[in-house]
Amino acid sequence: MNSNGNTTAPSQGEFQALLDATVDAVILIDHTGHIQSFNRAGERLFGYAADELIGKNVSVLMTATDRDSHDHYMARYMKTNVPHIIGVGREVDARRKDGTEFPVFLSVGQIHGANPPRFIGLLHDITLRREAMAAIRRERDRANLYLEIAQVFLLALSADLRVQLVNRKGCETLARREIDLLGRDWLEVAVPTAQHQRVRRDIERVANATADEDSYLEHEVLAADGQRRLIGWRLMPMRGADGRLVGYFASGEDITHRRAMEQSMERTRLLLNEAQEIAKLGNFEMFHGGTDGAPAQPFWSPEMYRILGLEPPSHPTQGLDVAELLARIHPEDRARNAEVWRQVVGQPGTRLDEFRVLTPAGELRHVQINYTSTPAQGGGMRVVGTLLDVSDARRAAEDARVAQERMTHVSRLATMGEMAAGIAHELNQPLAAIANYASAATRLAAASPSAADSDGDVPLALEQIQRQALRAGEIIRRLRALVQNRETRLEAADLNELVREVLVFTQSDARLNDVQLVAELADDLPVASVDRIQIQQILLNLLRNSIEALGERPRGQRTVRIRTRHRPGVALEVQIEDNGPGVPAELVARIFDPFCTTKETGTGLGLAISRTIAEAHQGKLLYATAPAGGARFTLQLPCPTGRDEE
């Protein structure tokens, strides 16, 4: 090989050593492309022995596509002397002896001084590099894909807040193309004007923040189509090697829907809380037993705390356990409630209890509790339920009961007054006569004292007769003061309805006395023509009598039955029957007489008045001993006459 210039040309042996040492294939060809030399690396690379190639056209090492163009390149170069490949190199595909192909980087040089010219080719196997490149490209494509398909809004901003990068999600959110965003001022292009100042401040804060938690900010973005979305951002300042801020990288999440949900849930929670407060109804979830894992946290609604007179905790779902509930219960009711709780956790089901609560402020409240227990996962019981403050209802019911009693009392007195008015004249006549006779006798006796009356008892007795007669007259006068000029007013009425109303009045009385009221109402009753108030007065009177009479029976065995019945052509009946002692046989004949009573505090007028009312309705009030031995009163009213009323 010839040398060029002043440098010492390498010896032939040195050159051959160089050729043998190089890992690239080195091929020497003449101007017609015939191989003149082929080094050892070439033999390894192509699988040929050098002898097999010397004198062959170099195209044997090329793929079919390169083969034709090679001759063409050579011819062109020989003709124009303009090199295309020499000193530049190119990637081409080479072909081994076994026909397999592989990529090589081909460098070509011309050996100057030779005529005709010769060329030297170096072929470097780039299979590994190709593969590495392909892997990198795949890697990059995948990263890009991730960026694109990420469901977060990815954004890179310059230090002056110009958009450097935005992913597909970001473009979609803003309804803009990437190209329309890149390089633009982020605030101008995406943030509602009203929020510019705040966003700028937030970004500054993040830029200067040291702790990770300070990297969060949120603001709305304004899309090209006018839609606003609320985005929660994680913003990361990016700094150069010198620590100077070069920009920001941000990942944003569309929290519009989540925020709306949160607000809706918060509103629901507040409304529920308010509803509970209005209804004075709390609810709870508590757990009992169960050994698996940590015990579940109990829940008490805020109203639950308020009913018990406790301050609701700030954490909305926090609850206390049943011991805290028991501690609030009135000491007298505590044992019973504890027993109910034992039943609740002993067996699944629903149980009710009523008890009093003594609040820390000393207020007494009446509450109703409903426990519903179900077996919990992991053993034990899960108990859910409600706590209802019935203090107001209790008070109202008590007030109503007192008012009702007062009214009944007044109405009873008024009826007595009416009756008294009727009999006043009849009674006053004999009373006047008695008084007159007595005073006449007093005077006569004084004029001629009797020898037999040495103690003077006769004038005294006569004076007493007069005084007592006057007293009787005074009683009647007082009764008459209660007179109400009320006439019987008949109107169409459903007897069952009258009975039900009276039962409502009587319910509290019955409960107090542990009397069970049983209504057996016929469903085929025709409409009756009655004075509702008067008939109800009879029923009320009879029911009260029965309830009082049942005081002699043990609790739990006191029953009053009230029946309605239609006996066509005979009567409409209301029957009130108790299982008390009944009316003593010697009194049965007189029970409807005025002033006949078995009760210490009775007036003895109730039944008399009731019978009077029944008769005013062309009806009857009858007594019979019930089959079981109690009292049975039957009010019979005439059947309606008109067929159309049926």
């Binding site: 008015a421 006043a424 004249h425 009849e426 009674l427 006053n428 006549q429 004999p430 009373l431 006047a432 006569a433 008695i434 008084a435 007159n436 006779y437 005073s439 006449a440 006798a441 007093t442 005077r443 006569l444 004029a447 007069q466 007669a469 006057l470 009787a472 007259g473 006068r477």
Partner: protein, 206 residues
Amino acid sequence: MNRNASVFIVDDDDAVRSSLRLLLKSVGLPAMAYASAGDFLAAWHPSQAGCLVLDVRMPGMSGIELQHELNRRGAIIPVIFISGHADIPMAVEAIQHGAFDFLQKPFRDQELIDRVQRALAADGNNRAELAKRDAIRERFDSLTPREREVLTLVTQGKANKVMAGDLGVSQRTVEIHRARVMEKMGAASLAQLVRMVLDLEGAHVD
């Protein structure tokens, strides 16, 4: 009190009627009792002094109706109502129609006796007044027309000379008429004569 005065009792209740009579008798008051308004009207005469104890409510003619009948007849007998069934409107009506008093049965004996005695006293006074007025009227009726003219002028306070001029007679004639008037009317003075004339006129007003 007039010794002939009686208490009249009208009540349909036998016991009330008889006990009232006994009560009044025990204090020395004579009483006559009737079972109905009709019986009473048949037996009673307006000139009989006394008072009436009357039950309000009776079968047939009621006490109130009897009172109206008595008023219609110009009776002056005081009426004490008694009632076993009194109410205020009824009592007011009775009083407005001139009832002397109203009592509710049964009553304290003294209440009735006091009222009866006051009623009898009132009746006595009324009757005395009426008797006096009747006497004056009788004397007045005995005057001649000329004497009545003189009486009228005298009570008007006119002097004899003026009267003579008015009547066209001598002063002497006037003096004679005047003396006759004083004598016939039984008046001791001019003042007494004037009071008699006023009583008479009051009667006319009644």
